[in-house]
């Protein structure tokens, strides 16, 4: 590597430093803008008790299908009847949940919330990209201290189209992209969101989906159909008792144990 490129000091003063500063500033502004936009309205949408009940009914039915082997036949029949009885069973009810489309129509907040989220992410990105490529493109900013294969040229030398240039030099545009993605992690450390709220986790565990992202609600299919499917699945299940023969197994266990360590019997 005899022919090293000497970089002008002005490149550092007028490109490297301002570029870094403007990216950091941009991200800061974006952070606060998101907070203001999101914080304005209540982020949590209200959860209807009835919806919760329906979801839980399905979950319970699934549990019953999986774990009924530990129940006696009577207990299983009782639960099955409660869930699947024609007309009155919990799974035979019409769903009160709105399907995804209805939710969209009746709750414009959902839409605008998503719009806000997306806009606050995309708009600054575009603006920043234009800004950087207008003012800072075409500079070589530095050199990475290890050799690389030529296929990295596209990644490291964006904006400078010089096939004869050594791959280890990187340009301002590549530096911008690197910072854009790399700084996200650093920022996350600074702006750690509020402490992890156990209630929030709880909610998610219970499958209530409150406050979760609206996309999840969109993907769920027609809820009445889900109830119907679960009912059909449960009706197919015939009772099997897994504890049949538990006594014999217990006897075996005890026998093995007693044989292993015969206790000294006192008269």
């Amino acid at each position: 590597m005899g022919d090293q490129i000497v970089l002008d000091r002005d490149v550092r003063d007028w490109v490297l430093v301002p570029l870094t500063m403007s990216i950091v500033l941009m991200m800061l502004i974006r952070q606060y803008a998101t907070q203001v936009l999101m914080g304005g309205g209540k982020p949590q949408q209200k959860v209807e008790l009835k919806e919760v009940k329906e979801k839980q009914t399905v979950a319970r039915s699934q549990l019953l299908r999986g774990a009924h082997v530990f129940l006696t036949e009577g207990a299983f029949r009782q639960r099955k009847a409660y869930l699947t009885a024609k007309g009155t069973g919990a799974l035979s009810q019409k769903s009160e949940q709105k399907s995804a489309q209805e939710q969209m129509l009746t709750n414009p907040d959902l839409m605008s919330g998503m719009m806000k989220q997306n806009l606050s992410g995309i708009v600054p990105q575009i603006a920043m990209g234009t800004f950087v490529s207008y003012f800072f493109s075409g500079f070589i900013l530095g050199k990475i201290p290890f050799p690389l294969s030529p296929s990295f040229r596209l990644m490291l030398q964006r904006g400078v189209d010089l096939p004869s240039l050594d791959v280890t030099y990187f340009t301002s545009l590549s530096y911008y992209i690197l910072l854009l993605f790399g700084l996200r992690g650093v920022f996350m450390l600074f702006f750690r969101e509020n402490t992890i709220d156990e209630t929030q986790m709880y909610r998610q565990q219970m499958g209530m989906g409150g406050g979760g992202n609206p996309m999840a609600a969109m993907t769920s299919a027609d809820p009445t159909k889900a109830l119907e499917a679960e009912r059909a699945a449960l009706e197919m299940v015939d009772h099997k008792w897994k504890l049949e023969g538990a006594e014999d197994r217990a006897a075996d266990v005890l026998r093995a144990r007693l044989k292993q360590a015969p206790h000294k019997r006192k008269p």
Binding site: K46, V47, E48, L49, V52, K53, Q56, T57, A59, R60, L63, L64, G66, A67, H68, V69, F70, L71, T72, A75, Q78, T195, I196, D197, E198, T199, Y202, M206, M208, G210, L243, A246, E247, D248, R249, A250, A251, V253, L254, R255, R257, L258, A261, H263, K264, R265, K266
Partner: protein, 304 residues
């Protein structure tokens, strides 16, 4: 059960040892352990936690600080250190005015102080805003329990499990409440639910079998026997209650000739009896005669 206790004791000993040098780390670790294991060791938590908050408050990270504040506040309520609890809850409430958790703390404080009406009003007010808050709905049940209104608590909890049907803890609590009210068939239903959630736990089988045994009747004795057997199978014969239960249930079956349909292997009660004796010989030799007497009363003959 045992390892939990041992872990706690080890952590406490560590606190003891390092108390000379301030013991900041040891205390913090102890509180963390209690939180993670979800045990309720209020006396120690209140004592160590208040010390930690008093002397090392500035050293704690914000997140952990508030977690510890909550933990200590609850422990203080438990130990009736109401002054301490009031101070903590006040600052928590100031920091998180809209949080469900701080509302719960305030409600618990009121409940501990005995102002039930105020506590109830607080819950109802919050439930208006968030009717699906499990935390508050459960507090409502607890409040009824504190008041001593058993049927009220049952009613509340029944409504709760009607909605939150997969809440294992709620079913367990409802089972307890039904037992207290001596409504055994209803309790059995709750324990069945529990059984589906944790079929691999010997304790669950034993609880359920206990309820069935209490209800009585040949069919129930039979099922109880099966579940005691399952518990023995799971615990490999180490669960004394399951062994006792098996002996008792099979003794009942023996007395009732109709109930015998040959499901229980004839030597199972004897085996259980022997396992019991072995267990007692190892763990509590002085109580052996009592066990022998009981087994004799149940007409379980132990091989010479």
């Amino acid at each position: 059960m045992q390892p939990v206790k041992r872990q706690l004791e080890a952590a406490l000993a560590e606190v003891e040892r390092s108390s000379r040098s301030g013991g900041y780390d040891a205390m913090r670790r102890y509180l963390q352990l209690v939180r993670e294991l979800k045990v309720r060791d209020s006396e120690n938590v209140a004592l160590l936690g208040s010390k930690l908050l008093k002397h090392h408050r500035s050293k704690l990270q914000t997140e952990e600080l508030w977690l510890i504040m909550e933990q200590v506040a609850i422990a203080a309520i438990d130990t009736r250190a109401l002054k301490l609890a009031a101070d903590l809850i006040k600052s928590i409430k100031e920091k998180f005015p809209d949080s469900e958790r701080s509302t719960r703390l305030a409600e618990m404080f009121l409940e501990a102080r005995g102002s039930y009406e105020q506590a109830e009003a607080l819950i109802l007010e919050q439930l208006e805003e968030a009717p699906e808050s499990q935390m508050l709905l459960k507090r409502q049940v607890a409040l009824e329990k504190t008041k001593g209104n058993l049927s009220g608590a049952i009613e509340m909890l029944r409504k709760y499990v009607e909605t939150f049907q997969t809440d294992r803890e709620a079913w367990e609590e409802l089972g307890h409440l039904y037992l207290e009210a001596q409504m055994y068939p209803q309790a059995a239903t709750c324990y069945e639910e529990l059984l589906m959630h944790q079929p691999a736990s010997a304790a669950t089988h034993v609880q359920y079998a206990d309820v069935l045994y209490t209800i009585g009747g040949p069919a129930n004795y039979q099922t109880a026997c099966t579940h005691y057997s399952a518990a023995i199978d799971i615990s490999s014969g180490q669960n004394a209650r399951a062994l006792y239960g098996l002996c008792a249930a099979s003794a009942q079956l023996k007395g009732d000739s109709k109930g015998r349909d040959g499901k229980v292997p004839p030597d199972l009660p004897e085996l259980a009896g022997e396992a019991l004796l072995q267990l007692y010989a190892k763990e509590a030799p002085s109580k052996l005669p009592l066990v022998t007497a009981l087994l004799e009363a149940q007409q379980i003959s132990i091989a010479k």
